[in-house]
Every structure is written in C-alpha cells, then in structure tokens.
Subunit: 336 residues, 2 copies
Amino acid sequence: MNYSKSTPITIADIAETLGLSKSTVSRVLSGTGRIGAETRKRVLEYAKECGYKPNLIAKGLAVSKTFNIGVVIPGDAVQTDMPYFQTCLAGITEYASSQNYDVLLTMANGNTVEGVERILNNRKVDGIILTRLLENDVRVNLIRSSNVPFVVVGSSPDSEIFQVDTDNEKACKDFMNVLVAKQKKRFVFLCGSQDILVNRSRLSGFLSAMNEKNIDKSDYVIFKNISSNLGVFEKLDSLDAVQNTCIICGDDVLCSSALDWLQRKGLKIPFDVEIASFYNSSLLNQYMPAISAVNINAHKIGSKSCELLLNVIKGIECSTKNVVEHEFLFRDSTHI
Amino acid sequence: MNYSKSTPITIADIAETLGLSKSTVSRVLSGTGRIGAETRKRVLEYAKECGYKPNLIAKGLAVSKTFNIGVVIPGDAVQTDMPYFQTCLAGITEYASSQNYDVLLTMANGNTVEGVERILNNRKVDGIILTRLLENDVRVNLIRSSNVPFVVVGSSPDSEIFQVDTDNEKACKDFMNVLVAKQKKRFVFLCGSQDILVNRSRLSGFLSAMNEKNIDKSDYVIFKNISSNLGVFEKLDSLDAVQNTCIICGDDVLCSSALDWLQRKGLKIPFDVEIASFYNSSLLNQYMPAISAVNINAHKIGSKSCELLLNVIKGIECSTKNVVEHEFLFRDSTHI
DNA sequence: CTGAAAGCGCTTACAG
DNA sequence: CTGAAAGCGCTTACAG
C-alpha cells in the first residue's frame, strides 16, 4: 500500500498520519476557515514533504466546478487565419494555467454545433471561449440556453455578448491619418469580402480618415470583395498608373499577393510604390523591405478573453465590450 | 427544485421516480451487469425522455478515469509546421470525440516541462500525446515517471515509445524511384538541418534511390543544412547550369524559396526546370503549375495516434511502431 | 435480477 | 479552532 506512484496521497492520508480530521486538513489546504497557526504549519509542511497534489476532479465534484474552460477554434481556418488563432490560443492557455485552469479544445467546422454540444453535455467546462463568431451563429444560442458563461473573441453587435477584440476601425483610421499627414500619394485600398465583419470595419476606418483629412475622391481608389491572388492581380492591372501610389492592403494575404504583383512588375518598394497592411502576421515576416502594418496583439486578445471569462464565471461584474490596444509598425515599405 | 436548467437530472432522480435503486439504474445506463428486460426498458425510456446526461466527472471519480487525453503541441511552431500540427490536432480531436473523450490542450515552448507538469499534477488526463519530440526530450522522462500512458507523433529511436509517423525514408525513396524511372535529368536536392530527424530520413531516402538506380554522382548534387530563403538562393546561384535539372526540395518552405528564385530568374516550370517537394502542405496550394510532392496524411497521423493512445490506456497490446501511409502527388511541375 | 452500503477524494454546514 | 457527518454523482463488490 505504499507505492507512491500507484496511489497518490490524499487528504485522508495526511489527516491520518497527522492525527487530524479530514475537515481540518482540507481547510488549511484550501485556505478557508480559521485554523490554529500550529496546526496549519504542521499540515502545510507535511503536505509539501510528501508532495501532496489535490485531486481537482474530486474537488470539482464537491464544489460543482471543473476548473476547465472550453475553447472552440475553427477547424477549417485557412492558412491565413491560423497564425491568428494559434497565437490567440497561446494567450488563452497561458492565462488559464496561471489561474490553475485547463483548456478543453474543440474544433468546429463552420456553423456546426456538434463540438459545442459535446462539451456542454459532458459538463466538463465552467465556461466557453468562442474564437470565431459567424453570422447567425447557432452555437451561441446553444451555449446560452445551457447557461454556461461564454465570451467571444471578435466583435458582435449583440451587446449582451461578452466580447474582446481590437478596435479595427479606429486602428485603420489612425494608421491612415498618420500616412496621410506625412505624404501626398494616391492611395489604392485593397479590401476583402464585405461579408466579413472585420473587413467592413477596416473599410470604414479607411474612409473615415479620407473624409476627416478631406482627401479628394480622385486621390484614392477602393477595390473591395477581393478574394484571391488573381483578384488582386486583376485590380492592380486595371490601374492606369501605379507609380507614386501607396497600396493599402486589408489583410496580409492581400498584401502578399500585392507584393507578388509588384515583384513581377519589377517595381521597387518604397521607391516606385509604397505599401502597407492592416494586419501584420507572420506571413509578412519574410519580406524585405519590412512592411508597415497595423499590429494586432492576438496573444493579448487571447489572454484577455480568458481573464474575462474567468471573471464572468466568478460572478464578477464585467463590461461586455473589451478592446485590446493595437500598435502601428511603420517600417521600410512606407516613407515614414 | 424543478428548474431543469439549474439542476441537471441524476441517477438518483431516475431511481426515485421509477421506484428503483440507484444501483440498478446505474447498471442499465452503463450497460453492465444483468438486468431484467422490462426494467432496462423502463429506465432507458425514462432516461431518454428526461434527457439524462451522465456526469462524467462523477463517473470518472468512481472509476478513476477522466475521459480526457492531454495533447501537447509546440507553442513556438513556425508558420510552416503549423498546418501540420493543426491538421494533426483535428485528427486527434475527431477520433477522441468519437470515443467520448475530450482533449486537454497544452502548448509547450521548446523543451519545457511546465505544461506537461501541470497536466500531470492536475491528474485530469488518462494519457498524453506528444506532437513534437525533441532530442533528449525532458518531457518524456517526466511523463514516464508519472506512469501516465503516452504516445508520440513522430519517430523516435527509443523502441519503447509508442509512436506513429509516416515512413519518410521509404516515401522519399519511392518517390525518387518513380522520378528517376521516367526521366533523365540532373537532380538538385535541397535539404534542411540534419539535426532534425525527418530531414535525415528524407536525405537517406533520396540517397537510397540514387544508389539503387545506379545514378552517377555527377548526375545529382545535394545541399544540406539549408535554413533560410537566402540559403536556397545562394545554393541555387552557385549552380553552373540549372536548365534541364529537377529540383527536389526537402520540405515546402525550401520549395517556396526555390519557386521564388525560379520566378526571379524567369525560368519556366516544368519546361526549363522541374521541381518537386518531399512535403505537401497548404503553403504549396497556391502555386501554378501544381507542384508534385509527397503527401503526408497529417489528419490520419493524428487520429491514429489517438486510437493508439486509447488502446494503450485500455491495456490492449499495441505495437510500438505505427506507420501511416503516404501518397504521391505527381502534378504539373514534373513531367510525370 | 435487484438493493443496501461503501467508496472515489474532496468540501462544508452544523456542532461544540 | 476542530471534528463527525453528509454530500457531490457515480460505481461496484457483497448479499440475497
């Protein structure tokens, strides 16, 4: 009965060898209730000595908690989104561990409930983080009706949903304002599908800056709903002159394509044309010269969302909108 | 006491309303022990009717299981590795759910024990999948001494470690054999760091094919330990003639760089030079023409490793080496 | 075939 | 400040 490996030590063991009751041992170990200084010391010392580790499952059963949070990430993330979600996930797991919580992972393909349903039925989590909200997301209804607390990574117009995101509109606007202030070039804005919320925000941000700075409509052109490499090529080919312009890319995929196009044309950055992106991911890391971009702190978005969730779980009053700061990277691809 | 939301129904509830003992209800619900047909029917029907869901935590406490597996993925995976691990993870989670298991995720940066230690201390998993083995991996010692079953995604010389992987050497050898049989070109092999096991295997595979087919040493050249874009450029620049060669890339990053170089030089694939990669990931998806490559089934590696782990946990005798089949994609970048 | 009881490892009123 | 007891929701010998 002494194989420490096969039978981890329990509170009962400690109580017995110390001649105390389980209640007392439990209380000092969980730091609750008033305990004699001497007793506390003995228990603490012995617990450390024998390497006692509480059984969280048992504790959970007793207090109706799991000390797990469920995280659902898109299983069908295209290559581009992945670095974002992966970094987010890193932020989440790090914060979770710091609070002695573990992460139960579910991958959901599209607007599918299975994974979330499982996690809910199995009752193995105290709360859920949803990392990509969809239009009419069936999963939020499901989670809601289960009464399990949840937060969303991203933005939702639903003001009752706890959410954390970057203020993309403001970020893009401010970024453009800096650019506009420092130079007089023609802007070409390449933007992705307007079905995606973040692309809309970026477009709004761009436009706000143009309006605020009174940029003449003839001094910028916007291409939206671009969805592919070829789309970018096509749009850029359609320009009468590209010299002396600054290409603004809605995200780093579009930016890669644009860079590809520039290279084929033999145009030099930033001399012939300047270029910048509204999202900086590792996709852009390789490029020389370095690309100016808005830098979104995915890691922090992750940890913040975890912190928020844990607070909601604890019943702490939380604000529903949470924004994490972005930063600007003005590098060699622009004259700033 | 009737708020179905706040208090999920338990076995005790069922037993009471059916006038049975908890034991009996438990037995029919878990399908163990002999039960009267009539009783079984009543219980099953009522359970379904009231939407009974077993509390896995409680069950786990009773039977000393968690119905969770821990998966540790590299937190510092560079962009290239990520699609591989992400796909693997998808395979793991899918198989796990099919067996009513959940996945506890840990991200480990490099040869770090923290995450694994947590997962072990918290005793929330029945087994662990390690998705990137390192030289002298401290984590395997840790896991071993904890007696928690584990399997590794990848290959290890340690024959006591349960592992699942593609047979990279064989894959590359066979791939080259096909290429050699169909054409007479000069081969240029670009290979990554020889500190990484998989790169060694690929090199061996390449060499085996060369030897087996009696290719003269003057008909191929090998560049190893290439670690960057520039490395590739440098090596390729050093060639006296590149026309009429077939470039074999050790992985898809090297391949991207090579493609980049070819484009800059204005060389046309497959007319001026052919090219193929020993690993096909989404990185290569974009290219026109499509790149011939060895296709590694990461999803299957994931699901297989999960299946293996679950079998090991059950105490089923398992073989320690497990290989999952690869396939060849001969596409337009080669004349096959 | 079914039930009463003890147990998994913890917590927490309730007494004292 | 400490302990005996009941409980979290399940399982499983042990009887019958």
